[in-house]
C-alpha cells in the first residue's frame, strides 16, 4: 500500500447478465458423481443436477447441507465447470480447518450422496465470453476463473484471455495440468528450478496490460481479501480502469 494511491471513485460496474429469479430461488438436489483430488488441500466434486438451468463462467451457487435435527448449513461456492457441461456442475473446495461444510465434503462425502443447491446466482462476476478477459486469481480463487478458461477452450473463442494464477508452490497449484500458454503461474513460497519465488508484482501484469486488446481488458480478480486488495491496486496503478475491474473476495 502506498500513500499516494488514490483510485478514481467511479466504479459502478454493471452486471454482465440478467439473473434468472426462478433458478436462484429454487433448491434442487445435486447428486455427487465423482470426486477428484486436485492438490493436497483442494478437491473437485462433480454433481449431476438434472434440472440445472445453465450458468455463465464466474457465477456461483448456494449449497446447503441438512442435519437430522433440521440444522442447516449453507455456503456460497463458485462454479468451476463450464456452461456446456450438460446437467452436471463441478465445485472445487479447499479443506478449511474446522470447516463445517468443507469438512463434510473432504471427510464424509462419497459418490451417490446428495446435497441441495440453488443457483446460478449473481450476474456481476459472470463472463459471457464476449470481451477480452484478464483473469487474476490466487489459491482457490482460481475456481471461477477456470470456468472462464474452460469455456474459452470449449467454444474455441478467439477473444483474448489471459490468466495469472498465484499459488504457494507447484504442488498447491489447482488445475495445474490444464493450463496452457494463456497462463502465467506465480509461486510465492517454492517454485520449480529456474522460476522466481515471490508475490504477484507489477512486472507480472505489465506484459499482459501491454498487449492492449481491442476494447481493452475486462479484469476479473478472485482470491482472499488480502490478495484481492493487492492485485486490484496493482491493476489500477498499472493503468487498468477501475470500472473495468470485477472483484470476488472470500474470507
Amino acid at each position: 500500500m502506498t500513500d499516494t494511491f488514490v483510485p478514481p471513485t467511479r466504479f459502478a460496474v454493471p452486471g454482465r447478465i440478467a439473473v434468472s429469479n426462478r433458478a436462484a430461488a429454487t433448491w434442487q438436489t445435486a447428486t455427487l458423481t465423482e470426486i477428484r483430488r486436485e492438490t493436497p488441500g483442494a478437491v473437485t466434486f462433480r454433481f449431476a443436477v438434472p434440472e440445472w438451468s445453465g450458468h455463465l463462467p464466474g457465477q456461483h451457487l448456494m449449497l446447503r447441507l441438512t442435519a437430522e435435527d433440521g440444522y442447516v448449513a449453507q455456503r456460497h461456492y463458485s462454479l468451476a465447470s463450464p456452461p456446456d457441461d450438460t446437467a452436471h456442475i463441478e465445485l472445487t473446495l479447499d479443506h478449511v480447518e474446522g470447516g463445517e461444510v468443507s469438512g463434510w465434503f473432504h471427510t464424509v462425502a462419497r459418490p451417490g450422496d446428495s446435497v441441495e443447491v440453488r443457483g446460478p446466482l449473481s450476474g456481476f462476476f459472470a463472463w459471457p465470453g464476449d470481451r477480452p478477459a484478464l483473469l487474476v486469481g490466487a489459491g482457490s480463487g482460481v475456481v471461477p476463473l477456470m470456468s472462464m478458461l474452460r469455456h474459452h477452450r470449449a467454444r474455441a473463442l478467439d477473444v483474448p484471455l489471459r490468466l495469472l494464477v498465484s499459488a504457494r508452490g507447484p504442488e498447491e497449484l489447482i488445475y495445474a495440468r490444464e493450463y496452457g500458454a494463456e497462463t502465467t503461474p506465480v509461486f510465492t513460497r517454492t517454485a520449480p528450478e529456474g522460476m522466481a519465488v515471490g508475490r504477484l508484482a507489477a512486472a507480472h501484469l505489465a506484459p499482459l496490460l501491454a498487449e492492449r486488446p481491442p476494447g481493452g481488458w475486462e479484469a476479473y480478480v478472485c482470491g482472499s481479501n488480502g490478495f484481492a486488495e493487492h492485485a486490484s491496486r496493482l491493476l489500477v496503478e498499472a493503468g487498468q480502469p477501475v470500472d473495468r475491474i470485477r472483484i470476488e473476495r472470500f474470507g
Partner: protein, 201 residues
C-alpha cells in the same frame, strides 16, 4: 427435509439471535466488496441527501461530526451466511441528517450511493426511527477502508449489502429503484429473519 448423510454440523448452542441459514463468524469479519477499495481521506468525504426533500444538503466530515453522536451495538448479518455478534459502531443516527433536509411526505424509498458508484435501495421506513446510522468508528477505532471507512451506512436489521460502504449520499424517491446487487439478482429488501436473499425469496 432433505437430510444430508452423516452431516451433523458444528456443535451448537441455541442462538436466538442467529437468523435462519446463518452461522456465527466469531472474530472474523469477511470483506465482500465487488470494487477496488478507494483511498478516501476524511477531508475528502462528503455526505449528501437530495431528491424528495425540502432542503437538499451536503455535509463534510466536520459538519457530520457536529451532529449528536450515537452508537450501534448489536449484530450484523451478511447474505453470504455469516453473522457477527455484539459489534460496536460509532457515528450519527441517520435521523439526524434526515431531519435537517425535511423529507417530502411523498418519499417512500431511498437509493443509497457510495463514493465508488455502488448503489443499494431501501424503503425509507427501514432507515428512520433509529434503525440506521452513518458510522466512522468500529470498536472505538476509525473504520478501516476495506470495511467502508472513512464512513459507511449501517442498517443492521437488513443483510449487510444494504449497509453501503464509503457512503456518499441518499436520494429520496417516491418509488423503489433497484441498486447494484438488487440488479444482480439479490432481494429488494433483504430481511435476514425472512431469508430474503435473492429475488424470488
Amino acid at each position: 427435509m432433505n437430510v444430508t448423510r452423516a452431516f451433523t454440523g458444528r456443535p451448537r448452542v441455541d442462538h436466538a439471535q442467529l437468523p435462519p441459514g446463518q452461522y456465527d463468524a466469531g472474530d472474523d469479519w469477511p470483506v465482500l466488496s465487488a470494487e477496488v477499495t478507494p483511498d478516501l481521506a476524511p477531508a475528502d468525504w462528503t455526505f449528501r441527501i437530495d431528491g424528495l426533500v425540502a432542503e437538499p444538503r451536503t455535509w463534510n466530515w466536520e459538519q457530520a461530526h457536529a451532529l449528536p453522536a450515537s452508537a450501534y451495538e448489536g449484530d450484523i448479518h451478511c447474505v453470504t451466511s455469516w453473522s457477527k455478534f455484539g459489534v460496536r459502531f460509532g457515528g450519527v443516527r441517520l435521523d439526524a441528517f434526515l431531519d435537517a433536509v425535511r423529507p417530502d411526505a411523498s418519499a417512500t424509498h431511498v437509493v443509497a450511493y457510495s463514493h465508488t458508484g455502488y448503489t443499494t435501495n431501501l424503503p425509507l421506513a427501514d432507515i428512520t426511527g433509529g434503525r440506521a446510522w452513518i458510522v466512522w468508528e468500529y470498536e472505538g477505532k476509525p473504520l478501516p477502508a476495506e470495511h467502508g471507512g472513512p464512513a459507511r451506512l449501517i442498517v443492521p436489521h437488513l443483510y449487510f449489502w444494504k449497509s453501503a460502504k464509503w457512503i456518499a449520499g441518499l436520494r429520496l424517491l417516491d418509488h423503489d429503484e433497484p441498486g447494484f446487487w438488487e440488479q444482480n439478482g439479490y432481494h429488494a429488501r433483504g430481511n435476514p429473519w425472512e431469508e430474503q436473499r435473492y429475488s424470488g425469496d
